[in-house]
Amino acid sequence: MSAPADASPGSPPGLRVCVDLNLCQGYAQCCYAAPRHFRIEGHEALFYDPAPAARDRADIERARVACPVQAIRVEDPGRGA
């Protein structure tokens, strides 16, 4: 069995974020909830940080909940998926 290649020893485990960009319609509620991790480019292209630090979990959770089409999936190793 291989060890996960992504583990960075020493730092607290970060979050994993993935947005279903088929569902996303650019309502930008995530950008208000977590402006450092989500932003709209052009008319409706969402850019997001797929690996936020654990300390930002409150912002990320706000964004997840605020999404009108529920397109944001988060795994928080500190709290379970």
């Binding site: 979050l15 008319h43 940080d49 690996a51």
Partner: protein, 423 residues
């Protein structure tokens, strides 16, 4: 579901594999679960690799997918499957190990189609873009400030990379043999509009051109030569010629598989060479070729993110013993972010004989195009108009009459019917 000592193996470690494995667990499968991946990485998301990883906004290793899987999974990463023995129910791995299985999910996906000349394909400065390592390597090359980037192939990846080079301020030439970018998928009517968007961003677009060979000096790319004699000086080339399905490992297994995918039945079980389903094996994602109920049962293998998710979940439930409510037939959808322009689609355009712009203004760069075939709506493409797509998706899913009457169109005086322009 009762506890079981059965062994499940997932072959592949991409999006479809991950969502399939999760679905098995969520459906109550409590036996052993192994996931076999060719790359040394946990499942990661590919779309950012051709976008924000190349701009440097995020690192290639930040793309690991969120997952609900726990510690009760055996990961076999960095060692691809090499063979399948269905009589003995074992999978052979590159590192020599043999994994026994009772239930198997085939989700080995695709790889980038290589440049046809292997020597030229290995030159310093020549890249393909499929995996995490590819993206990290190309990012490094773009960050070094090449004099010009040559993108070969005007499909979605080629268009994304070309536009992104302009975002980085890099001169870029896109060579596409077809009459417009994306002509095979979207037709020339929409393809020419997409081409105009990229030219407006400064992409040097050469449609109807073909790169014949790549010239090097001391093993380093210096220029591409087109068949018409044109030379394009470039120190980076991105080969964007589509994908090849990873089915070689199924040779000798008795399953119906070829470079176009592995065949499945309506339920999702793989078929043997005689067309009989193997109830222990299901397939999902890019590698699965299945009869799509929306398109008259025509067999399709779709390289779509949403398909990897939905079919992965379907196949995972199937292997866990859940009886599917219906044959798998999710409406195909995909998106592509080209620079800051979002192209989204529902349905399959293949065979379209008519097209109508139902929303927005093509010249403005924001519009919805609806595709018809034999008087029915079969697909829709939205450019920077995603909010109009769900209404069009409903027309496509219902096979509504084309042209639509009074639905999803902002043209009350009637819509003009155009040729989609498939080459």
């Amino acid at each position: 579901m009762m506890p079981t000592s059965e062994r499940a193996v997932v072959v592949g470690a991409g999006l479809a594999a991950l969502r399939g494995a999760e679905a098995m667990r969520e459906a109550g499968f409590s036996g052993s679960l192994s996931i076999v991946g060719a790359e040394p990485y946990r499942p990661y998301d590919r779309p950012p690799l051709s976008k924000h990883v190349l701009t440097g906004a995020i690192r290639a290793d930040a793309t690991t997918l969120p997952s609900s899987l726990g510690a009760d999974v055996d990961w076999h990463l960095g060692s691809p499957a090499l063979g399948l023995d269905r009589a003995a129910r074992t999978l052979r791995l590159a590192d020599g190990r043999r994994l026994p299985y009772d239930r198997l999910l085939v989700a080995t996906g695709t790889r980038a189609r290589p440049w046809p000349n292997p020597h030229e394909g290995r030159l310093t400065g020549v890249f393909t873009l499929r995996g995490r390592d590819d993206a990290a390597a190309l990012r490094a090359a773009l960050a070094a400030g090449p004099r010009r980037v040559l993108v070969i192939g005007g499909g979605f990846i080629g268009c994304e990379v070309a536009n992104l080079c302009r975002q980085l301020g890099l001169p870029v030439t896109l060579v596409e043999p077809g009459p417009t970018p994306l002509a095979r998928v979207l037709g020339t009517t929409v393809g020419s509009l997409i081409g105009a968007i990229h030219e407006g961003r400064g992409v040097d677009l050469r449609c109807g051109g073909e790169v014949e060979w790549l010239e090097d000096e001391g093993g380093r790319l210096v220029r591409g030569h087109l068949t018409d004699g044109t030379r394009i000086d470039a120190d980076v080339a991105v080969i964007a010629l589509g994908a090849v399905r990873n089915t070689e490992w199924l040779a000798g297994s008795g399953l119906s598989a070829d470079p176009g995918g592995v065949d499945c039945d309506e339920a999702g079980y793989v078929l043997d060479a005689d067309g009989r389903p193997d109830p222990r094996i299901a397939a999902a994602g890019d590698v699965a070729r299945f009869p799509h109920p929306l398109y008259g049962g025509r067999r399709v293998a779709l390289e779509h993110w949403s398909q990897a998710v939905a079919q992965g979940v379907h196949a995972g439930r199937l292997l866990a013993g859940a009886v599917p409510e219906a044959p798998y037939g999710e409406l195909p959808t995909f998106w592509s972010t080209q620079g800051a322009v979002v192209v989204k689609s529902v349905g399959l355009t293949e065979g379209a004989d008519a097209l109508a712009f139902t929303q927005g203004e093509p010249a403005s760069g924001r519009f919805v195009a609806l595709y018809g075939r034999a008087g029915r709506c079969i697909a829709a493409v939205a450019v920077d108009s995603a909010r109009w797509l769900p209404a069009h998706a409903a027309l496509v899913a219902a096979g509504a009459p084309f042209p639509p009457r009074g639905a999803a169109a902002d043209r009350p005086k009637g819509i003009e019917i155009l040729a989609p322009g498939f080459p």
